[in-house]
């Protein structure tokens, strides 16, 4: 049993080593830019984690993870913007002036108080995912239909963020001029401190998910992914489990949204763009969506390449990036994690799943009906 696929102890060791390496990494970086860049990658890794949880384990292809990310990012952006407003001289952010507002709208008032603001930034998207998920899964939406409904919902929020300019600044977005200040202490987005805060959240969420998915709850969720009908006949509330896993993934994306604004000091409707949510799915797929760690590494890998090749190749990088996806999908269906599994399986001569056996997609599904479980 050398395979990583079967050996749980080995898996836990790999997870701890991974986060330990990330934790000591800043010791070797004295460059503020690189520290910040890595913090960004970690947040994007968190988004890939949320996709892996909901898609890889829950079998729900959500193209709407950007909703939770975006709502939370706006909440955090509003909180940080209000920290730099002066109640007497500048009671409202200046973009509101263009839109004829003379006093702070009710929507913004709770954000004067930083803890309330951050709490709202996390709670509102999570509740929204619960309600939205209940709506979808009670109607027994599956597969591509979930993808399209989440896509439509995402587009609706995107239009909203654009159009409600008195409250969101529209396309321009909100850029809080100063870093987040917690009880008199400013968290410099370029510091090791910010990096460790972000990393601590990623580690806690990843290990939490790893634990959760190996409980009975996690096993039922995976059983539903593999065959919802059978799980239903066995008496499980399929919708209930799906709503729960969907809400959890929304919460993870919301945490990512809050941390993103903390280290970037900017939020705009681009957080709710279709392109962005699709790319989260891409990261998870590149790394291997069936592996939490794989998805996170996928996000690091794709974004690292984008950041580096974009500078080196200028005009050519999109060709390389696009070509890379085609090659990975064509030859490595389980992503980079699948490559690792194959390698380990070969070394250990243990039987890891072959490249074509993708749980959740029985070979007949494609031909039988496009709307079958995906």
């Amino acid at each position: 049993m050398n395979s990583l696929y079967d050996n749980r102890t080995l898996q836990w060791i790999v997870y701890f080593v991974f986060f330990a390496v990330l934790a000591v990494l800043p010791m070797f970086i004295e460059n503020a830019f690189t520290t910040n860049l890595f913090s960004r990658f970690i947040v994007l890794g968190m988004l890939a984690l949320s996709v892996s949880v909901v898609w890889g384990f829950g079998g729900i292809l959500s193209l709407g993870q950007g909703i939770a990310f975006g709502l939370a990012a706006y909440g955090m952006g509003m909180t940080m913007q209000m920290q730099s407003q002066d109640p007497v001289n500048a009671p409202i952010p200046s973009f509101m002036l263009t839109n004829e507002l003379t006093e702070l709208p009710a929507l913004w008032i709770p954000f004067w108080h930083t803890p309330t603001g951050i709490a709202l930034a996390l709670i509102v998207p999570t509740i929204f995912f619960g309600v939205f998920g209940a709506m979808m899964f009670q109607a027994r939406l599956v597969g591509v239909f979930v993808a399209i409904v989440t896509l439509a919902m995402l587009s609706a929020w995107y239009s909203m963020a654009f159009d409600m300019q008195p409250y969101t600044a529209g396309f321009n977005g909100i850029s809080p001029p100063a870093p987040l200040n917690i009880a008199g202490h400013a968290i410099d987005p370029y510091s090791h401190e910010a990096y460790w805060i972000v990393l601590a959240f990623l580690a806690a969420l990843t290990l939490g998910m790893k634990l959760l998915l190996s409980t009975k709850f996690g096993l039922v969720v995976q059983a539903i992914r593999d065959d919802p009908e059978r799980a239903r006949f066995l008496g499980y509330s399929v919708a209930g489990y799906q709503v729960t896993i969907f809400t959890i993934s929304g919460f993870i994306a919301a945490v990512a949204g809050v941390l993103w604004v903390m280290i970037v000091q900017y939020v705009s409707p681009t957080a709710l763009e279709v392109q962005f949510s699709v790319s989260m799915v891409i990261w998870a797929a590149v790394g291997g969506r069936m592996s939490l760690l794989g998805a996170i590494i996928g996000a690091f890998f794709v974004n690292g390449i984008q950041s580096y090749l974009g500078d080196e190749l200028l005009y050519g990088f999109l060709l390389v990036l696009g070509g890379l996806f085609i090659v990975i999908v064509r030859f490595l269906p389980n992503g980079l994690a699948g490559l690792l599994e194959m390698a380990l399986a070969r070394i250990g001569r243990s039987k890891a799943p072959g490249p074509d056996a993708e749980p959740g997609t029985p070979p007949v599904a494609a031909s039988a009906a496009p709307r079958s479980q995906v």
Binding site: A139, L318, G322, S372
Partner: protein
């Protein structure tokens, strides 16, 4: 001030015009969605590069017209042929290896869309291009309270003709019969001696060709640039899903319905707000009718 102008009051003539514009919007969404509907309905392939096929069609028309002097009206069928050929090559080289993994086609075609956009940008440059349309289309007609650009009428006509042609092809020819057989059950169709591989290649090429045809027309209403395709993909998907997968009539009805809803909302409020309501209504609709308006031949489940 913005509040003063937010709501437009009802007036009979302009409202009737808004209904007509709804049809025009519907024709654009339908022609953009038709290829997607066929490819998705038949093969279960979620083609994220569909918008880029639209873009390729626009560029084909541009190159033919600008460099070879082909008249605009002749460019439209040429764009169909060129993009269909590109589609066939892509099916043979990439998509056919992914039929057993339908969701992975989403990723592969997304990668493909990046490659197509950047290749076009490198060859033809990032700046927008212009397709000159014949002078007689650059005017409008008035009748009763209606007023509509001739070009829009032209798009409506081409869309209807294409739709009718596709329906005829699918329901009245032997090839169409084979396609529908494969759509319903690939294994049984195969057992009856239908070459499913060839059917898939033809279907994918035909879907790509329709996108190319759409692109040639869009290029003349708007303009031609490498990223133009992304502007159609979301609406096209909604039209297909609301209409019901695999149903051509469903796509027609849903395109008209969505186009009218959008146009009426845009008349009373504004375009961005109308989009918001459109998306929200689609979500609610699919909540209560997940299979879409007309779900044909869903096969076994």
């Amino acid at each position: 001030m913005s509040v003063d102008h937010f709501w437009t009051a009802f007036a009979f003539g302009p409202f009737m015009n808004a209904l007509l514009i709804g049809l025009s919007v519907a024709s654009i969404w339908l022609i953009a969605a038709l290829g997607l509907a066929i490819v998705y309905g038949t093969m279960g392939v979620i083609n994220m590069a569909h918008g880029e096929f639209v873009m390729l069609g626009a560029y084909s028309a541009f190159v033919l017209e600008r460099y070879l002097g082909v008249p605009f009206l002749a460019c439209i069928p040429c764009a169909f042929v060129i993009v269909a050929a590109i589609g066939a090559v892509i099916e043979l080289g990439l998509v056919r290896y992914l039929y057993r993994r339908p969701l992975d086609t989403l990723l592969a075609t997304w990668g493909l869309s990046l490659v197509l956009i950047q290749t076009v940008r490198l060859i033809l440059g990032p700046e927008p291009k212009n397709i000159a349309s014949p002078e007689f289309l650059n005017s409008s007609v008035q009748f009763w309270v209606f007023s509509l650009s001739l070009f829009r009428l032209f798009v409506i006509a081409v869309t209807l003709a294409t739709f009718a042609g596709t329906w005829w092809l699918m329901h009245r020819t032997r090839v169409g019969l084979m396609v529908r057989a494969v759509m319903q059950n690939k294994e049984i169709a195969s057992a009856h001696g239908i070459d499913t591989g060839r059917v898939y290649t033809l279907t994918f090429a035909y879907g790509a060709g329709l996108a190319g045809l759409a692109g040639a027309m869009f290029g003349a209403i708007k303009n031609v640039f490498p990223d133009m395709g992304s502007g159609y993909i979301v609406e096209a998907f909604l039209v297909v899903v609301v209409g019901g997968v695999g149903s051509l009539i469903g796509s027609l009805v849903s395109a008209v319905g969505l186009g009218e809803i959008y146009s009426v909302f845009a008349y009373f409020t504004n375009g961005t707000f109308a989009k918001f309501w459109l998306f929200l209504l689609v979500v609610v609709f699919l909540r209560f009718r997940p299979q879409g308006l007309f779900a044909e031949s869903l096969g076994r489940r």
